[in-house]
Amino acid sequence: MERFIADLVRAFEAGKLSRREFCQTVALAATVYAAGDAADAQSAHGFKVLGINHISYTCPDYTKARDWYTSLLGMVNTPGKDTGKRADLMFGPPPGEGGSYLLTRNADSGEAGAAAAAKAVIDHICFTISDWDEARVRAALTANGLQIGGRPGSLHVYDPFGYDVQLANAIEENAFRH
């Protein structure tokens, strides 16, 4: 990276790059560098998973799901993407940098039919909450009229459509502690 930037400075000084081009190129290089880290980790066979891009959630009324997941779990409704039939609810790192979103949509989209034909089902999704405070989490859930199941550090509730949503901290729900 340093050598690349040194070359850019040289090109700028020599008048081969405008000021704007120089700034844009360095900014682009930063983005590419971040993605390049991932590219370097690409597997020889199969793919290197960086994370969940999105979860497609089909329900009778996406607005109820949208409002529940944004107001209770802090997801962010992507500006300009709420079509009246679906909404993309962002969470995690920024979009394009590893962030995820919950794609909530109405059942008439046709996606649910494909899922019904599958012999597998995603029976629940667990989300990590950082800086876990058991009392605070329980209070937030209770304030929304939710019945809470599970155990300390790993709680279950049903969303407005009866879907099982788990909320957990890093200690209770960790791949290497199962």
């Binding site: 560098y33 597997s43 199969g46 793919f47 940098e97 989300f127 990590t128 890093a170």
Partner: protein, 195 residues
């Protein structure tokens, strides 16, 4: 980022920093940019989910499904029991991609075989079948290239990939569940209906 670069360039041109200082500052900023931007999320509400912790996938034969996901996504299998196995998205101690908080574990799949109509283990009361369904999961992979993904799937013996657009590939897993594969360029900001 561009504003920062412009400021440093101005500092260099006005003699406030040396040529070496300019190069070092821009190099540091460029390589640290991704981590820094992760924190720019605004004020935190009462609850704020950070990341998917795990996805609970139930099917008739968890070994078969786990082997498929291990093969396609190069995932290790840990903690196997008689009815489930765990597939983490990384090695022990690794941070999830671009997550700066230290108490957010790697996302993982829990692949199980169990009665979908069993009483809830969570202690919650049994409820009618969910009216909502997860109809597909999209995985972000490193170095996404549509044609390369299709070719790699073929090399793994998976011939039925669908390509609805330049940024994504769909494939069915052994139990007919829709698996989508995309790269970092595909996000909530770029997604569009139908993909």
């Amino acid at each position: 980022m561009e504003g920062f670069v412009a400021q440093k360039l101005h500092d260099f041109e006005s003699g406030k920093i040396s040529r070496r200082g300019l190069i070092e500052a821009l190099t540091a900023a460029a390589t640290a940019g991704a981590a820094g931007s992760a924190g720019a999320q605004g004020s935190a509400p009462a609850l704020k989910v950070q990341l998917v912790n795990h996805i609970s996938y139930t099917c008739p034969d968890f070994h078969k499904a786990a082997d498929w996901y291990s093969k396609v996504f190069n995932l290790d299998q840990v903690g196997a029991s008689k009815s489930n196995v765990v597939l983490p998205f990384g090695k022990p101690g690794e941070q999830p991609y671009n997550v700066t908080a230290k108490d957010v574990p790697q996302t993982h799949l829990v692949i199980r075989s169990r009665d979908p109509n069993r009483p809830p283990e969570s202690g919650l009361p049994a409820r009618p079948p969910s009216q909502a369904v997860i109809d597909h999961i999209c995985y972000t992979i490193a170095d996404f290239d549509r044609d390369r993904v299709v070719a790699e799937l073929k090399s793994l013996g998976i011939e039925d990939a669908k390509v609805p657009g330049p940024r994504t590939v769909h494939v069915l897993d052994p139990f007919g569940f829709d698996v989508q594969i995309s790269g970092l360029a595909s996000s909530a900001l770029t997604d569009r209906a139908g993909q």
